[in-house]
């Protein structure tokens, strides 16, 4: 018996180590970014780093490090993507969970999972060969590699997350609410808009936040399809370069230990904090929801 209890304790302890590992990895990522990222500010003033100054760290005489234009690129493509993905994603979630007959639902859910599985590099490739030429023809542009292209692709990448989480939120609305509404003579649409939607409002907000987190952190699609100009964009038809793309392009070529090297870690730190804030907000919303549901 003692032996058997020993093994029980042994596995409990050794499995708990792997759980602690999860904390260590997150802490390690944050620590690594802080350690390397903050060293950038030894030679670059923080105010300058976040300014609209040019991003030209490879310049021979006077390298400059301003991420303002790239932050704008990230914000522009992400918001553009959300303008598209939020209504379409939520609309589809309502259709799947409230309107669609069971057979349609059984086909639509795997379709969303399939879309979620498409690798980002494939979406980026289609941005070059399909969306780019399409936009160029539609708006008479020399090429279609711009912020709008990136926004469309990011919308495709964010859609599955929005649909899935919104669908879960809609499902969590108690049946009795809807039944009460029908009993009062409301039709399906009125019930959906006036009863179901307000009851799962915060869950849908969480879906939007998660989709946004996905879009901010996306690398390959924007790297391939937004034109990658470091100049400040004046609109959706200008090429942009996001923070993720900058790290992806420059990290492979920069010598370790230089200010340029550390400045890329600082970029990644900004990116990490942005996505962390968005994800923590989304989590707050859902945990509040869960507490209220109990």
């Amino acid at each position: 018996m003692r032996r058997r209890l020993f093994w029980d304790r042994f596995f409990e302890k050794s499995f708990s180590l792997s759980a602690v590992l999860a904390v260590l990895i997150l802490g390690g990522i944050f620590g690594m970014l802080l350690y390397n990222g903050l060293r950038a500010f030894g030679s670059i003033a923080p105010g300058y780093f976040f300014s609209l100054a040019e991003w030209n760290p490879a310049a021979y005489t006077a390298p400059s490090y301003g991420i303002g234009a790239m932050l704008t690129g990230t914000v522009l493509t992400t918001l553009g993507a959300m303008v598209f993905a939020v209504p379409v994603g939520i609309g589809m979630a309502f259709f799947v969970s409230e309107i669609a007959p069971p057979r349609a639902r059984a086909m639509l859910k795997p379709a969303v999972e399939m879309l979620a599985a498409v690798p980002s590099v494939v979406v980026g490739f289609l941005g070059i060969v399909l969306v780019g030429p399409f936009l160029a023809g539609l708006f008479h542009l020399p090429n279609g590699l711009n912020a709008l292209n990136g926004a469309i692709l990011l919308a495709v990448m964010a859609l599955p997350a929005v649909v899935t989480v919104a669908d879960d939120a809609i499902h969590a609305v108690p049946h009795t609410y809807k039944e009460a509404s029908y009993a009062l003579g409301a039709n399906r649409w009125e019930t959906l808009v006036r009863v179901t939607l307000p009851s799962c409002y915060s869950g849908i907000l969480a879906a939007v936040m998660l989709g946004m987190g996905r879009a901010i952190g996306e690398t390959m699609t924007v790297l391939m399809a937004t034109g990658n100009a470091t100049a400040f964009p004046n609109g959706f038809f200008d090429p942009v370069r996001t923070i993720t793309a900058t790290v992806a392009i420059e990290m492979g070529e920069v010598p370790a230990g230089t200010p340029h090297y550390f400045s890329l870690f600082a970029c990644a730190l900004v990116l990490f904090l942005l996505t962390l804030i968005v994800n923590v907000l989304a989590e707050r919303i859902t945990s509040n929801l869960r507490k209220r549901g109990q």
Partner: protein
């Protein structure tokens, strides 16, 4: 009364449109790749090396590299992820530490893949001296897929009825004996689904391997885990943006994209079937 009906009709029609747009995106992706990639796809394309500056030939080293690094990543992530999920679901008391572990896992799932790439560069490539290698990329991808392995395994464990556990414990089994003999066997299909989805995710990722081991072109297959490798997603990226003549190699890029998509969707379908069978 008539107006109400019209509003409802219009409303539902707009929801149908939303669903149609999403399905349309998927259809467009599948159709375009199958159509234009199908032309170049044949057995030779899969088993030949790239030739003449990657303007001709096949993609064998990329297929091989992706297979090896994906399997390695999953072989590393699966035991750790399952152990972590078993602890959380079967052993963990509700303490601040447990809540911290859960919060960490949720947040790890939201960390951008390029940040994992930087972590891999700083820790595995430089810190541990693995260099640009299959091993460093495999470890980085393992970290990336870990949260999803943990989450799916936890869900599989949660779906095992409590009564089974209580029955085993009442017969005098220890917690570990219950887990090994009762809980884990019942959760195998769910865990397997999670592992296959992790494979699929790792196979399609580009950003984490960019600075940890993937090579632009290599004449030989990696001879050990300390060699660089070629990978399908990176090969597609190279062919479509970094090649000196991207228009000329477009058919090859289409073929590569189709192979990658087919691989990922095949894994997802297997996961789907495993899950559907055991429900």
């Amino acid at each position: 009364m008539m107006a109400k009906k019209h509003i409802q009709l219009f409303g539902i029609a707009s929801l149908v449109t939303c669903a149609a747009i999403v399905v349309g995106f998927l259809g467009l992706i599948l159709f375009d790749l199958a159509w234009k990639g199908g032309i170049v796809l044949n057995w030779e394309f899969l088993v030949r090396y790239p030739k003449k500056g990657m303007t001709e030939g096949g993609i064998f080293p990329a297929v091989f590299g992706t297979a090896v690094v994906t399997l390695l990543a999953t072989a590393l992530a699966a035991p750790l992820g399952i152990a972590c999920a078993v602890w959380l679901q079967e052993y963990a008391p509700d303490t601040p530490l447990t809540r911290l572990v859960r919060a960490s896992i949720r947040n790890l799932a939201g960390v951008p893949s390029i940040v994992y790439g930087l972590f891999g560069l700083a820790v595995f490539v430089e810190g541990m001296g693995m260099g640009m290698s299959v091993l460093a990329s495999g470890c980085t991808l393992a970290l990336l897929t870990l949260p999803s392995v943990i989450t799916t395994t936890e869900e599989a464990l949660r779906n095992v009825p409590r009564l089974l556990r209580e029955g085993a414990l009442a017969l005098g089994a220890t917690r570990w004996e219950t887990i090994r003999a009762i809980v884990l066997p019942a959760a195998v299909p769910g865990i397997l689904t999670g592992i296959i989805l992790a494979l699929s995710r790792a196979a399609g990722e580009t950003a984490p391997i960019l600075f940890t081991g993937v090579a632009f072109y290599s004449r030989y297959l990696p001879a050990s885990v300390f060699d660089e490798f070629m990978a399908l997603p990176y090969h597609l990226y190279i062919l479509s943006t970094q090649h000196h003549d991207p228009v000329a190699v477009r058919p090859l890029a289409y073929g590569t994209a189709l192979v990658l998509l087919a691989l990922v969707l095949m894994l997802n379908s297997v996961a789907f079937v495993v899950r559907a069978r055991h429900r």
